[in-house]
Symmetry: C2
Amino acid sequence: MGTRIKDIARELGISESTVSRALSDHPKISNSTKEEVRQAANELNYQPDLIAKSLKLKQTKTIGVIISDITNPFYPEIIKGAEDVANKNSLNIFLCNSDYNRERQQNYLKVLAGKRVDGIIISPIGEKYEIINFLIKNRIPFVLIDIKPAIKIETDCVYADTEYGAYIGVKHLIELGHKKIAIINGPIVNSPCKQLKSGYMKAIEEDKIPINEKYLKECNLKTEGGYRAVKELLKLGKEEIPTAAIFISDITAIGAYDAIYESNMKIPDDFSILGYDDIPGAKYFFPPLTTVAQPKYELGETAMKLLIGEFASADNWKHKQIKILPKLIIRSSTAKPPDR
Amino acid sequence: MGTRIKDIARELGISESTVSRALSDHPKISNSTKEEVRQAANELNYQPDLIAKSLKLKQTKTIGVIISDITNPFYPEIIKGAEDVANKNSLNIFLCNSDYNRERQQNYLKVLAGKRVDGIIISPIGEKYEIINFLIKNRIPFVLIDIKPAIKIETDCVYADTEYGAYIGVKHLIELGHKKIAIINGPIVNSPCKQLKSGYMKAIEEDKIPINEKYLKECNLKTEGGYRAVKELLKLGKEEIPTAAIFISDITAIGAYDAIYESNMKIPDDFSILGYDDIPGAKYFFPPLTTVAQPKYELGETAMKLLIGEFASADNWKHKQIKILPKLIIRSSTAKPPDR
DNA sequence: TTGATTAATACAAACGATTGCATTATTATC
DNA sequence: GATAATAATGCAATCGTTTGTATTAATCAA
């Protein structure tokens, strides 16, 4: 239906190869024909078929990005960072939203492989070995995002140091005087969740605070997960109800607001809430949420740069694992514990 | 490098066409060879080349989605709605973020055309005729999102009735007793902005409230735009400072919180704020934001369904323009005006 | 046995670009 | 004026699929 190189060639009475070369400004084509070709292309509204080009050239100028929840404000900033870098390098992004669903993640992996993307940035959910195996087997360059590398794994990755983030967060709670501190975590199979726990443990143990197993909660990563977890905590004996909690994300912390208010308790007077991520809007919660800020944009930016190989110079033979430090943002959802 | 149909064919000593047909379960291929082929494909880790397939079949099973700001929580829900429908129809989404940048939008349009996507959903910024022209000229099926159709335009579109939303919002303010109501709008070229204004006007005029030109603000669609607009309003003479404002989005309304608090004023006692969108988190602002809720997920869902043609039945020759009604969510950022 | 029918597979062209090599046209060199 | 060098263009193969049309093999009817 549309215009092809063939059509331009016919129109001008020259060969397809000449048109192709003229369009890509090949030095061996005369300026006059180049001009003619460009004009004809314009008149005929020629749009190059990137599919055909990709097939021939074996590169798609496209990077696949798989994230787990586009609705979580944590991700859009990452995507933006990645997209900005991609654009600067005339690359495009194929965005996939696994929605915390492993099957869907697996499916997207296959689609991206089939679409022959030039590389993949993925924030993996669930067991990551199969993902890594798949990518390696299919020879797709990739960068893991927001995953702390395990010892055995040798891959490029960019991650925020959640262990450190959890540590400084819980330390902050301890300094305020809290001793009954809960942790509302996501599924512990996820790397950031693992890290959150170990940061929490480190801070708790450092201050010789006894560990209460009932304070260790796992929930799904949505608001409703946080809500339910806190509801359960509030059912404990009066003396045992924690006075503070650290959450795996601001989104789950929001659920805590709901649960606490439903019980006619006050934040932070009766319960201190420490979020994680610093999503836009956290500043305007009631009360403004104390949280650990993720370097979101930077995470996306760095991952894409790494993938593109901007960082690959002298020693690009070895995998880079880049750590970015989060920051504690103290607002008003944390305060000293109530004297019960 | 990877496995091709050719490789499977060689491996089994049969022809490529047989392999291809076996893989797609063609009835004329014997079950025994089908089984052999499937097994070999598995062993050799065959991943079909979707690029080649697309070239041949002239369809990519991909829908391009262009939105203007992935960072605005308004969009992720839309995307999710669209993606869910797409997935159910084994379609994928190629997401593009124009970032309110016309050049970038134009560029993405070209890329998507070049990538031969099967259709495009776009939330257009700036002048939409050139976009529509481009899409028609290139014979790409498309659906406009969040754009109220002008009389002359005959295209599929799905939009939330912003005029109605603004009308019920401003009515609410008037009923509270406000007479000095500002409108912090986005660039008036955008359709939702036009609608916001006319809804505002309708409500104001209905109650015979005189129009103050100084209350009609245009700003960019980010938090900082709302901040600056309100700052300017607060510089007016004491008597002239408005007592309430409706904002084009919750994101810009956030800027108002900053500006108001900087002037040591209180919300809603000194100034009522009415947002638009109902982004996740708006409920937890201080004070919780009164806002007009967009049917976001539904918007994306409907747009994709429309594009796929699920709605195309008897009368699919004419363009559908689907209107979805927003809802007023009254929280605590609006109250009766102060008696100055 | 022979021709017709059916089942299973193979051949080859096509999708729309790119590119190494061959070819032709033009100019330079002696 | 013949040959070499250079400039500009054309030919044809290729990327990995799919699919219409042979082709071959197997089965059946008479």
